[in-house]
């Protein structure tokens, strides 16, 4: 590859990342996570987190309302599937455009403030979107039930082509249904592409400007940069990432619910990014994977399964273990997440990636690089 296009390290990172992602069905199977739905979610939330990191990690703006763009992407995609065609490409295209426009408007307003005021503004906009989607906008969002595909949808393009099908309508890619492993590889392709784009952004002069804004906004101004359009671009890009992720979720599982716009969903992507490592490229993806793994696997461990696991222990001791560990798994998985999160924030503010770096540094003292601890913006 042309070195001007990408440095050697970046290329290795991208190749390694691609390999790890594509091989997920194999290496995740022993962990009980090698099934398509979860794998798809790994990809989708990976994209969401990578995009969020462009705003939060690079530019330093902590948005508490990114779920709104995720939701807008989902709704747009489902509407495209309902009105136009079951093909995924137009759905994704429109979702990215519409969520980008939505982000442009909200970003324009919110970026007039910074710090916690920015956070609260984004939170307020997202909560308004959520509450409206839940109530008044029901004709568009189908409220609490969520927007679904039905047999009677118009699908004008499909109808014009004379394309018919039997059974429940399922989104397709050029005629092939996107479900199961096909859906996973479809999403994986997008994760790799978006990861590549994020890599390019981080390594571009533009990316350096974003990092500079995070580091010292005042200096940027006195250096002759209008920081607002830079921050707004980052906001819109990350909004489009969120929209793409939302659309992919809707395409692989054609339902768009209002819950995915709630502030807790926005909080989740913040948790993912922090857990993995703010400002790093791979960190947010790892954070997303860990949280989704916890949510799907840890939460499904019930006392029954635990009891079988601890069967080898003497009676009494095993019930004790089941009781104690049962508090941390099953529907108590949030407790584990909360504890892990608190420990990370206190001891490893750079997230898992900082942990990796520290461990690596222990083995390799020769490296002259200082640890670049990334800090959240004030």
């Amino acid at each position: 590859m042309n070195p001007a296009l990408m440095s050697r390290n970046d290329l290795f990172l991208l190749l390694g990342f691609t390999l790890v992602v594509l091989a997920m069905p194999i290496w995740l199977a022993p962990f009980g996570a090698g099934y398509p739905d979860l794998l798809q979610r790994f990809m989708i939330y990976g994209i969401f987190a990578v995009g969020f990191n462009i705003l939060f990690g690079l530019t330093g703006y902590l948005s508490f309302g990114h779920a709104a763009f995720f939701g807008v992407g989902s709704y747009t995609a489902v509407w495209s599937l309902k009105l136009l065609t079951l093909d995924a490409i137009p759905a994704l295209f429109f979702a990215v455009i519409i969520s980008g426009l939505f982000a442009l408007v909200i970003g324009f307003l919110c970026l007039r403030r910074s710090g916690i005021y920015f956070s609260i503004l984004t939170l307020a906009f997202a909560q308004m979107s959520y509450n409206l989607a839940y109530s008044v906008l029901t004709p568009i969002t189908n409220g609490e039930t969520g927007l679904q595909l039905t047999l009677s949808d118009p699908r004008v393009i499909d109808a014009a082509v004379g394309h018919t099908f039997v059974g429940q309508p399922i989104p397709t890619l050029l005629g092939t249904p996107i479900g199961g492993y096909a859906g996973f590889y479809f999403c994986a392709g997008f994760l790799i592409i978006t990861f590549f784009i994020a890599q390019r952004i981080a390594g571009s002069p533009f990316g350096m400007m974003l990092k500079a804004i995070k580091s010292n906004q005042t200096r940027m101004q006195f250096t002759g940069f209008n920081t607002r359009p830079y921050a707004l671009s980052a906001f819109v890009i990350s909004g489009m990432y969120a929209g793409l992720a939302g659309a992919l979720l809707a395409v692989t599982d054609p339902l768009a619910g209002a819950e995915r716009m709630q502030w807790t969903a926005s909080g989740e992507v913040v948790l993912m990014t922090i857990l993995g490592g703010v400002g790093t490229l791979v960190g947010p993806v790892i954070g997303a994977w860990i949280i989704k793994y916890f949510e799907n696997i840890l939460s499904a461990l019930n006392d029954n399964i635990l009891a079988r696991f601890f069967d080898f222990l003497p009676d009494g001791v095993d019930t004790f273990f089941v009781k104690v560990i049962g508090k941390f798994v099953g529907d108590g998985w949030h407790l584990t997440l909360g504890l892990v999160f608190v420990i990370i924030v206190i001891f490893l503010p750079g997230g898992i990636m900082e942990g990796v770096r520290r461990v690596a540094a222990m083995f390799d003292r020769s490296g002259g690089k200082t640890s670049t601890r990334t800090q959240a913006a004030e």
Partner: protein
């Protein structure tokens, strides 16, 4: 070099903070290519004056004109793009970034203007900017530290880096707010040499300084500020001999 060509004109500027009259009736003309020092006791309004010039604070009345363009009401980044750079009293740098990047950023601002969506080029392909930045770091003696994180530099090195960040833009007017404060004698002298070198290039400078050694080694002209007013104005020797100045400032300080 044109003589007596006024490049910056601070005209009748007043600045009030509530009841405090921080700047009163300031009228200042900076000539092109000259080094103009502003001295005065603490709280005289020197930094406030610089803040008004670069657009950080709006004046209560009056205006600042730079080479025929009215600066008042413009945003700081617009003022910078017109060719005014500033070194701050406490270094304003990008502490999280490397020294080299710190210096490349202003160079990009000079080249690309106040906003450019150049997100698909790689930084590594900016070889011209990079070479320029490295050259500048060599000038200020930081070339060996170019890969260090800027925040981990010593205070003196931070100031020199900030100076490099300003110089790389080749500004027409450079504002220096106590460029040698907190530096050792040796560092101070290096900095004076560096600033003299720039003087040779014909850059206009406004310098605020406490260190009279620095002032008298560099300044072509000196204005003395006390309690928000200019009490004296002139060549270094004239100012040195002015009894009002000695009373207000030199006598007290030294």
């Amino acid at each position: 070099m044109a003589q007596n060509n006024v490049v910056l004109h601070v005209a009748d500027v007043h600045k009030r903070f509530g009841g405090l009259h921080a700047l009163a009736d300031i009228d200042l003309q900076i000539e092109e290519g000259k080094t103009h020092a502003i001295i005065g006791p603490n709280g005289a309004g020197k930094s406030t004056l610089l803040n008004v010039i670069i657009g950080k604070l709006p004046p209560t009345s009056g205006q600042v004109v730079f080479d025929g363009t009215i600066l008042t009401g413009r945003k700081p980044y617009q003022i910078n793009q017109l060719g005014i750079a500033r070194v701050f009293q406490t270094p304003e740098i990008f502490a999280d970034l490397s020294v080299l990047h710190n210096v490349m950023i202003p160079a990009l601002a000079k080249r690309d203007g106040m906003f450019r969506l150049n997100m698909l080029r790689t930084l590594d392909s900016e070889t011209g900017i990079r070479a320029e930045a490295e050259h500048m770091l060599e000038d200020v003696g930081l070339i060996n530290r170019r890969h260090m994180q800027a925040g981990s530099l010593s205070r003196g090195d931070k100031r020199r880096m900030e100076l490099a960040m300003c110089l790389i833009q080749h500004p027409r007017l450079l504002l220096l707010d106590e460029p040698t404060a907190g530096m050792s004698r040796h560092d101070t002298n290096t900095t004076i040499d560096l600033l003299k070198k720039i003087k040779a290039r014909g850059m206009t400078k406004v310098i605020i300084e406490h260190d009279m050694h620095v002032v008298f080694s560099l300044a072509d002209k000196i204005s003395v500020l006390a309690q928000g007013r200019i009490i004296a104005d002139g060549m270094p020797d004239q100012v040195r001999g002015n009894p009002k100045v000695q009373e207000a400032y030199l006598g007290g300080a030294h």
